[in-house]
């Protein structure tokens, strides 16, 4: 078993639920309220050093009574250890977990995908939009178990919507406003671009 699991239990106590160790993989269940603290602790604590976010995803079971799980796959590159953190949410309740984009920039698109496919909201995400489906997609979240394989709308309705789409919808509001938006960029980035500087990208952390 991954020793980080015991370390988590010792540090976070009640916030840690059950720990599963199977097939050489360690899964730690965490309460939704503390998951951000747990992930930040795992990343920043010396000796843990889970500096690499492998994946963020979600799992919904066919059994409607089972919780919907949000899954973080973490890796420590130095010690070559993998750890899976899970949060259980009620699929009929509010689906919300904190975002970790400020900890791992790679979480940005992964969280958007989970939001798109499962409808899980990542609070604090800087730009939580649909990513694989288009922004005006109205049929729901495709990877939910109550979503039919062929989609919610009939083929004729899908065709009708596709033909009636507003061409302006291909651009987000953000993009349509670009001509005026330079002044709204972060001061540091504006400054850097104004100096024509390349290769000196500020650290995202």
């Amino acid at each position: 078993m991954n020793p980080s699991a015991q370390a988590l239990q010792a540090t976070f106590g009640n916030a840690i639920g059950r720990v599963v160790d199977a097939r050489g993989e360690t899964i730690v269940y965490v309460t939704a309220a503390r998951v951000r603290d747990v992930l930040a602790w795992l990343k920043q604590t010396a000796g843990q050093d889970y500096d690499y976010l492998v994946d963020v995803t979600a799992v919904e079971y066919r059994d409607r009574e089972r919780a919907l799980e949000v899954v973080w796959n973490l890796r420590s590159l130095a010690s070559r250890r993998d750890l899976r953190i899970k949060v259980e949410l009620d699929p009929r309740g509010t689906l919300a977990v904190p975002s970790v984009v400020d900890l791992w920039a790679g979480a940005n698109w992964l969280e958007r995908e989970v939001f798109d496919m499962f409808g899980v909201t990542f609070t604090g995400h800087p730009d939580l939009r649909r990513i694989l489906m288009w922004e005006t997609y109205a049929e729901g979240h495709p990877l939910r178990k109550d979503f039919p394989l062929r989609g919610r709308f009939s083929r004729s309705e899908q065709v009708r919507q596709a033909l009636n789409v507003n061409p302006e919808g291909h651009y987000s509001l953000e993009e349509l406003a670009i001509a005026e938006s330079f002044d709204e960029l972060p001061a540091e980035m504006r400054d850097r671009l104004a100096r024509g500087q390349r290769d000196q990208i500020a650290n995202s952390e």
């Binding site: 993989e25 799992v59 790679g106 698109w109 024509g196 952390e205």
Partner: protein, 425 residues
Amino acid sequence: MSKRTVELSVATPGADAHGDPLRVPIPASPADVDPELGGEHLLINLGPQHPATHGVLRLVVELEGETVVRVIPHVGYLHSGFEKLGEYRHYNQIVPLTDRTDYLAPMSNNVGVALAAEKLMGIEITPRCQVLRVIACEMSRIISHLVWLGTTSIDLGAFTPFLWAFQQRERIYNLQEMWTGARLTTSLTRVGGLLADVPDKFVTDLREFTETFPDTLDEIDRVLTRNAVWVGRTQNIGVLTAQEAINYSLSGPMLRASGVPWDMRKDKPYLGYETYDFDVPVGENGDVYDRFLVRLEECYQSNRILAQALDRLPDGPINVDDPRVILPPKSRAMNDMEAMIYHFKQVMEGVKAPVGEAYAGIENPKGELGNYFVSDGTAKPVRWRIRPPAFINLASISKMAEGHLLSDLIAINASVDIVMGEVDR
């Protein structure tokens, strides 16, 4: 890397003391802008059907003059819902779906999904199957990198390496066709084994390939690595530091070019990769040029692995000896009652996996391809998640392109080595 010795002043006449190309600075205030030229930012839409976006990627680019201020990527035009489809299919029926994700390296995807299913079911594959799967993975790596070399050189204005690369790629496609009957939709693996053993001629042909293929790599190396235009257009473009590369969860050549020596084959070995003798190339500067060097060197190393795999290819069965997992031969299924029952149950019910979950990551040409299966004990997974390396690598493009010229954006986009089938899945 020692190849980085080109005199930059030769490559770019407008280079500063550090060798960085000079850029026209952006005016700090609107007052400095020539009113004739206007100070407004320009919105440019690249794609989704644009030859330089390597598929149906759409980039909305905000420009200040010719300098990229912001890139907003739009993906999803090729979304096929593979993960949803996988929930309605038996584990073996998922294999054909993986052909179509990263369609530049289909065999390698097949291996990845089979490894995850076998980890979930606790199946140990045979020694011959292991070596054949290594051959499949490394052949995929070579053809994927060759497409990358070819298309990237076209993006940056060199046509000849494209022809050389595709000529060699054709030889591997012929081998794939010989092995599986298909050139692209190989569907090579089955849970617990392979679709078919290799034909006799395959080994001699692949041996001949490994002996002659490095000549083409040498040619590409000679024509590109010290080429002034190539160097000028790739060095110091799209730089990511090691820390940023890790923070963006990059994997594969993108991560290694930034100086992080992480390779799943070395650090989390599977298929017995720890017993092969090969090197993992690592870049120093994390720019487009280093990504090129890393991929070029990986082709040489894959060739080495192929030669070693051919030397050690053991005799024996390719499938595990378990009638619950592997279909019996057709002749037995027709004549033997027991074999027929197994055949019927497998085709109608599928192979049942125990309750639980498994994640298997392999080093695909694009990066770490992860397959994550969650099972509730039935023959179909509750959840099949592909960790798509190209998707995650592409997410860093906004960061890399910021402040570069529009033409450099093309080089940066090419250096990510995206394949939209996998980005959108």
